[in-house]
Symmetry: C3
Subunit: 202 residues, 3 copies
């Protein structure tokens, strides 16, 4: 079970690293910059969560496998950019899976550190979206999650269901529904264009 969770975590890391590396290649960074963006996109959310709950050094800093997986994704993207770019739609689906996994696992870790349930859900969401925000800030852009699609909301929904399951004493049920809900909302956003209302300043 423990090793299944680690495997899933590393799959999520790999897919998120692909998104970071792709952003770096598009901006014509050098090899190193691409690898930094890979690692940042894959790990920033979990690192922020761990620093905030006092779990230092964060898992992504103390366990070399996260770095190894992110670096591998960065190298593949750097040298085979065209094929990766053509995979956009499969990558988006993997990304949706990674988001669901990070949000749910991040929530569980925050609950294990005895945070208030509402804040545990928030930290679960941060685990899921933090990497993408770091990637965008490093590219000097406004984070995409602030403006588009059901991305953060999907993560938050999965995190909240995880918390509800925990409060109801049915942790596995909450985890299962949380994963499906987050993943499903993302697929709806990708393939059906579901969105949140947007602010109209004028």
């Amino acid at each position: 079970m423990q090793s299944l969770l680690l495997s899933l975590d590393l799959v999520g890391t790999f897919v998120f690293a692909l998104s970071g590396a792709t952003a770096g290649v598009k901006r014509e960074m050098d090899l190193f910059g691409v690898l930094v963006l890979s690692f940042a996109a894959a790990s920033a959310g979990g690192i922020a969560r761990d620093v905030l709950i006092g779990a230092v050094p964060p898992a992504a800093v103390s366990d070399w496998r996260y770095l190894a997986v992110a670096t591998l994704a960065g190298l593949i993207t750097f040298f085979w950019y065209r094929p990766i770019e053509n995979l956009r739609s499969p990558v988006q689906i993997f990304d949706a899976a990674g988001l669901a996994l990070f949000a749910v696992a991040g929530t569980q870790k925050a609950l294990a550190f005895h945070l208030h349930p509402a804040m545990a859900a928030l930290l679960g969401m941060l685990t899921g979206i933090g990497g993408g925000m770091a990637r965008d800030i490093l590219c000097a852009q406004m984070p995409a999650v602030l403006r588009s699609e059901l991305y953060a909301v999907a993560a938050l929904a999965g995190a909240i269901v995880t918390v509800l399951g925990y409060l109801a004493g049915m942790q596995s049920v909450g985890v299962a529904i949380g994963l499906v809900l987050c993943f499903g909302l993302r697929l709806m956003a990708i393939f059906r264009g579901w969105r949140l209302p947007v602010a109209r300043p004028h």
Copy 2:
């Protein structure tokens, strides 16, 4: 006394959240983005301070009321943007009060964690200005405090007076004068246009 301080802290949180939400609405973010900016503008300074002094989880992460107040401010701004925007001048005055409060309270917390007095003043200033800096970075803009008005300097002045009062064994006097000084400097900047000298590279 304790509950008075908490109330003042939540008022500051509310007003800072308004400034974050307003920035989000101006950039046509979706509802979620507006709420993230509300929470970031209200809490980033205090969170950074708490992480740096080792007080984890930070108050804004462990106590759900900060999130609730920031979310409320974000929702109000999202749905009633026009009236909030027309309140600009009152909001600026509340913001000056929030800055004074955050700077002084942040300094006291750093002193309570036995930091060097000079660094406690710095962390007090960071508590006051950190939220606005996070807001601007999330909007991919250079933080306004680096370039304009007596904002950070007002926070620093209030923080220094708080430290001096502490060193002189007259903590309440320092707090009172610090609050008035920071608030007053901001009012002078808003209504009289007081500024710092600006760099002239040419």
Copy 3:
């Protein structure tokens, strides 16, 4: 020995602060903004490392001398910008020395906190490049290290050699070679234009 290390650390702080202050003056920030950029460029790398390994409060926050040295560099740059700007080449050489020192010292600190050797090298590199990244993000720009020259790679090379020396039980040899290697690679980048391969998205 201890005081030699501290002196070198403060020299690195001074030179990095010059680079931050110069960026601030170029963007016509006010005096305070220039000082913030000085301190951020000089300390962000070390602060990030210390937060990640759990060494809080970070050295740059608990020891006032870092702030004093960074502030001094900021004031000098603010009031004597022309002469500093004309020193560009000497400043770049000092900067290369600061980078080597920060990378090697950062690696040693991470090893002392029992991090995995690969991650200690990564944190050493972060110590060296973090300040410049914070400086660029505060200026709303993509960090220069992601796109140019042998900067981060030089830091990483120095950090890796430091780790190898540690693993081989020859710490001082590793430190010496690491310093020379990082410094030398930077000089080659500055005076010979050595670079990494750059991503070609098309």
